[in-house]
Amino acid sequence: MNRPIRYLAIACLVMFVALLANINYVQFVEADSLNAKNGNKRVINEEFSRDRGAILVGEDPVAESVASKDEFKFQRRYTDGRLYAPVTGYFSYVFGRGGLENSQNRVLSGSDNRLFVNRVVDLLSNKQPKGGSVETTLDPLAQKVAASGLDALGADTKGAVVALDPSTGAILAMVTQPSYNPNVLASHDFSAVEDDWRRLTSDDDQPMLNRGTQQILPPGSTFKLVTAAAALENLDLKPSDQIKAGSSLSFPGIQYKLTNLDRGNCGGSRITFERALNISCNVSFGALAGRVGQDDMAAQARKFGFGTDTLEGLASNPSRFTSEGADLEAPQLAQSGIGQFEVAVTPLQMAMVAGGIGNGGDVMRPHIVKTLRAPNLRELEKTEPERLSQAMSAANASQLTSMMVSTVESGTATSARIPGVEVGGKTGTAQSTADRPPYAWFVSMAPANNPKVAVAVVVESSSTVRSEIAGGRLAGPIARSVMETVLDR
């Protein structure tokens, strides 16, 4: 009977080796992914009991951990919570994290590898581990001005403002309306947290959506900047060249005609390219899109950043020129050329378009994190400006810039005029469906020769009467005040 017993011993050895291998897998290989799983109370408890690092705007913390007397020892506190919520995100015991609280969690909680030495020192000196801090690129004044601009349109306004520095890609303002108060979600009163979460997630207005980066909407006439860039790059057009205008654009064999807003005729059957942008002539840009062709239009959009998720650290969605694999008919291409049909963009993307044109055609990669610092303020990481792409040649960019300037000086975008500063801008009013108010857009940058700020504003709905809605009137003044604030510094 000894032989089977020896085999039995081997079988037992195999079982124990399997157990040992498996716990090595669970506790070592898989441990990080298990620790990162949602609803892992052990990790949440531990993180909740940590002195979490602050999120800074300028010098001031907008999210910080303050001592509390309960079992968690620390309470997360947000200053101007609603204002910065789309950037800071939330830090909830019950529902996890969002925004920078989530994407920079390793630094904020102190578990980042670069903080390893700090952790060891804390361990040896028997101190509680501390988290590092995240400094954002936001300009607190620009942020406040942008938010009060949206507020001024009425309490039920939905919209977003994104401002960035075109030469670096640093995001200066990111405001969304309606917003939410992350202090409530960070509360240690979990039933209140659950009530608030239920209210926020069931709200049709989606207060937790970052409209600046996540929501893609038809851009309307602001997209004509992309069409104009494509025309300059591909058709060798000059701003003074005469192009097709008139009251409608018809297509052979099809009943449908592309018309102008308010049935106008753009002041003649042929006008200059520059004039067409100044007065936002649909017929001209529909025709231009047809001349450029779908492939080159899509390529131009891609060069500005369409189709890629360019922002790290915050939830964001790529903008699109067409849906995946679409083959546009002539009328659809013309509609796309004026920012309708399937074109859908984020305000961040439109700010990148305006900024890229002003920045000599160079689109910089947008970023929200300026520096990451250890608890002792040692710099862990600094975001360096990085060129995302060259959307157009410097010569063409400067021509398009002056066309944007004349649009502000004597076109549809006069509401963005700032005395003593050359401002370039473009309005947009995107009709969606008849039962919903149109989207009012405004994109601009200043000063035009070397822009320090590019802004995109979208107002989805407000208490303004339908006939009064126009990009220039609703969104223009907000863009102007944000630009003024940044330039005043």
């Binding site: 017993i5 039995l8 079982m15 157990l19 669970v26 070592f28 298990l34």
Partner: protein, 458 residues
């Protein structure tokens, strides 16, 4: 044949004493560390625990020294170490669980009492069973006792259903799992029965595709064993015991007959039983799905997920005694005590604990190898294998190597019947070991040749 000077094994009782003291110190140190980790002070009850552990460990050692002087010297310290760690963890979980909810039942004291009873049972078995071969005469008595023990929980009045499994009986203030005792009775019964029947089961049969398959009529016993296992699954809803009994039986059959064909037959029957269980019982299906995809239904699979979270949170070095949150896992003190250990002692500590279990199995199989009589061999092999299978099934289930089935973690999990019966198993192994390593008694031999008369034939 003349009487040769035979090799006399060293008793190594001194080594056993030293290791026993070391094992007790580990347990006491763990208990103190729990207090330091949770409250920053050494717990008040440490004197009671240390006293009880030291006194009864030394008593156990002295009993072995007295009645089984040649027994394996490593087994006793190993189980004392496991038992001490288990007591410390149960105390730690009492603190954590009552902090969550002050109405939770505390187990540390009763577990200490059960440990003392277990050591008493250990001594009792060593005193009562002076020669394990005497047990062979009681083969069928143990067989009937096993069946009676298995049926007890199904009886009205004393039977109790806890968490869907009807495997408990009420004895006054205590509840008891007779299945634990049935395991030992079955091992003795199988050993005795197979020693007698092994030749018939081993020799007759056909050879198909290189494997010797048994005759149809010899399939009776294995079918009976299978039916009993399925009956346990059906009537008691106890997946773990069902698997354990059947595995024990098939493996002992294989050891007795040396024919791998029985493993094949057993494997086919197991697959059939498992498929039947999966198809017929919702709770088996739930366990299986929780194993494949625990995060598919986080609410339903909360226990296994919590166990995995605990293991991951422990990481390589663990949180330290009293500094993790093992109390978040349901049944962290019994079924999931391995996960609790993994959380607070880390991968390192859990591997050490598994190695202790592995050593116990290795010592058991070594006893089976060196044992000189077939009954002792079979019994030791069966007990050692059932121990290994039990650890594999419960730890593998908790760590998601295999689907989760309810079995106790020997010597560590809270639960009186398990602790007492495992101490009895160790006593039986020590008894066989003592018998094996004891020098053969002097037998005066006669030279028969001289007595034989030379007969002239013609």
């Amino acid at each position: 044949m003349s009487s040769q000077p035979t090799w006399v094994p060293r008793k190594r009782r001194g080594a056993e004493f030293f290791l026993t003291i070391l094992a007790v110190l580990i347990g006491i140190a763990a208990y103190c560390a729990v207090g330091l980790g949770t409250k920053g002070t050494i717990p008040a009850g440490v004197a009671k625990l240390a006293g009880a552990l030291i006194v009864f460990a030394v008593i156990a050692h002295l009993v072995v020294r007295r009645v089984a002087p040649y027994a394996d010297p490593v087994l006793l310290p190993l189980v004392i170490c496991l038992n001490g760690l288990g007591l410390a963890m149960i105390y730690r979980l009492d603190l954590g669980r009552t902090q969550l909810d002050s109405s939770r039942q505390e187990f540390a004291n009763s577990q200490l009492i059960w440990t003392v009873i277990g050591i008493a049972a250990f001594a009792g078995v060593l005193f009562a069973v002076r020669d394990h071969r005497r047990l062979q005469t009681l083969t069928y008595t143990f067989g009937f006792a096993a069946i009676a023990l298995l049926i007890l929980p199904l009886l009205p009045v004393i039977g109790r259903t806890i968490n869907g499994a009807r495997i408990w009986i009420n004895l006054g203030p205590f509840s008891f799992q007779p299945g634990e005792a049935a395991k030992i009775c079955l091992a003795i019964f199988f050993a005795g029965y197979l020693v007698v029947k092994r030749d018939a089961l081993a020799l007759a049969g056909r050879r198909i595709a290189g494997v010797d398959l048994p005759r149809g009529r010899d399939l009776g016993p294995i079918l009976a064993g299978w039916l009993v296992s399925v009956a346990i699954l059906v009537f008691q809803r106890d997946l773990g015991s069902s698997l354990l009994f059947f595995g024990l039986f098939v493996v002992m059959l294989y050891v007795a007959t040396e024919r791998p064909g029985w493993l094949l037959v057993g494997g086919v029957l197991f697959a059939g039983g498992a498929w039947f269980g999966y198809a017929a019982f919702a709770h088996v299906k739930v366990r299986f799905e929780a194993w494949l995809e625990p995060f598919g239904d986080p609410d339903r699979n909360g226990q296994i997920i919590n166990g995995l979270f605990g293991l991951a949170h422990g990481g390589i070095l663990g949180r330290g005694w009293g500094q993790g949150s093992p109390q978040l896992t349901p049944y962290s003190f019994s079924d999931f005590i391995a996960a609790s250990m993994g959380e607070e002692l880390g991968l390192t500590g859990l591997m050490a604990i598994l190695l202790i279990y592995g050593l116990i199995v290795e010592r058991g199989l070594r006893i089976a190898l060196t044992c000189r009589d077939a009954f002792g061999k079979l019994l030791a092999a069966g007990l050692a294998f059932s121990f290994a299978l039990q650890v594999f099934v419960v730890v593998g289930g908790v760590t998601r190597l295999i689907p989760l089935t309810g079995l106790t973690t020997p010597f560590m999990a809270q639960g009186g019947s398990s602790v007492v019966m495992n101490w009895a198993i160790i006593a039986l192994l020590l008894r066989i070991s003592d018998q094996t390593r004891r020098p053969a008694p002097e037998i005066s031999t006669f030279d028969r040749d001289e007595e034989t008369q030379v007969v002239k034939l013609s």
